[in-house]
């Protein structure tokens, strides 16, 4: 997942190297804990589309999803797991390496 020996592209994680999922991880990392509706607004997605991406990230063990109620209103909160944190850091590092390669080429 975080092979740094070869070309930066070879180490990219298929789960994370995806625009929406990278956005989800970035927002969740910064927010520490983020609500489903906030993610949907920030990423300009439909509920169904966001749910699919969240399922992929949850299945990969990168996020935790917690469902609950506030009053009568159902709310879904997403937090990053330690693996999710590491995966995001690795992806950012890969992107920086790619930029460095492009600039020195």
């Amino acid at each position: 997942m975080t092979d740094v020996s070869g070309h930066p592209v070879t180490g990219l994680d298929e789960v994370v190297h995806q625009r929406v999922r990278l956005g989800i991880l970035a927002i969740t990392h910064e927010a520490k804990r983020v609500e489903f509706g906030y993610l949907r607004t920030q990423l300009d997605l439909t509920a169904g589309n966001l749910s699919k991406h969240l399922s992929v990230l949850e299945a990969a063990g990168l996020i935790d999803i917690e469902k609950g109620y506030e009053g009568k209103r159902g709310r879904t909160w997403i937090t990053l797991t330690a693996d999710g944190d590491a995966a995001l850091a690795a992806e950012i590092s890969r992107l920086k390496m790619l930029i460095a390669r492009v600039e020195t080429a």
Binding site: L22, I27, E30, A31, K32, V34, E35, L43, I99, V102
Partner: protein, 228 residues
């Protein structure tokens, strides 16, 4: 950030910039700077009557000595209540917006400053009457700055620096820099502002009123800047 896949031709710089943009938006949504400054400004202004009422003054022909007991009675609980209120407000607002909060390090720093102030005040009150600093002679400027730094108004500035760092809040960092310069280098917060005909209680009140107004003006400015 609406397209699904990162395509091979996508510029990593653009992707990284999008990620940073999203993170910056979250940080903006977590902030409630104006509330922090509003609470601290209100607490500062409320301290003025406490300071004046409980100040112990002893005047003789060669001058007056004073002890600001009101500061000890008022500031430790006031700081603790203020930082608890700010933390509660931050977390409530962040939750309502759908994000987690980052205010805890600030609130903890604030609580620590309350303890530091109390310890420093009590230690000074016990030690200095029998052992005046610099043998009762004129004190150097660095000593005055240190004295102002461990006073509540200086400690409020130190805690605000922590908040600016935690939030990566550039405007707050600038505001705090100006605030600390005012509190540490300009306003005689611990000596009183000598004015023609003003008594000692009033001379102590003026710097506090200025600080309170500066904090409230900051609250107003940050609240206004927040509106879309």
């Amino acid at each position: 950030m609406t397209a699904d896949a990162i395509r091979p031709g996508d510029d990593p710089r653009r992707i990284l910039s999008e990620v940073r943009g999203l993170a910056a938006r979250v940080r903006r949504d977590q902030r409630l700077t104006w509330v922090a400054l509003l609470v601290l400004g209100a607490v500062t202004l409320l301290a003025v009557p406490f300071d004046a009422i409980f100040m112990q003054l002893q005047c003789q022909a060669d001058g007056c000595t004073f002890a600001r007991r009101g500061m000890l009675y008022y500031w430790p609980p006031a700081l603790l209540i203020a930082y608890a209120t700010i933390a509660w407000g931050y977390l409530r607002a962040a939750r309502a917006r759908g994000v987690g909060g980052r205010v805890l390090p600030y609130a903890i720093t604030g609580a620590v400053t309350a303890v530091v102030f109390t310890a420093a005040y009590v230690a000074a009150a016990l030690y200095f009457p029998a052992n005046p600093p610099f043998e009762g002679g004129p004190v150097p400027f660095w000593w005055i700055v240190l004295d102002r730094l461990i006073a509540p108004w200086g400690l409020i500035g130190l805690a605000l620096l922590v908040l600016a760092a935690v939030e990566r809040n550039g405007p707050l960092l600038l505001f705090t820099g100006g605030y600390l310069a005012l509190v540490l280098l300009v306003l005689p917060t611990t000596e009183g502002m000598s004015m023609m005909g003003a008594n000692l209680r009033l001379s102590m009140a003026v710097p506090q009123l200025i600080i309170g107004i500066v904090l409230l003006a900051g609250a107003f400015g940050f609240a206004k800047a927040r509106r879309p």
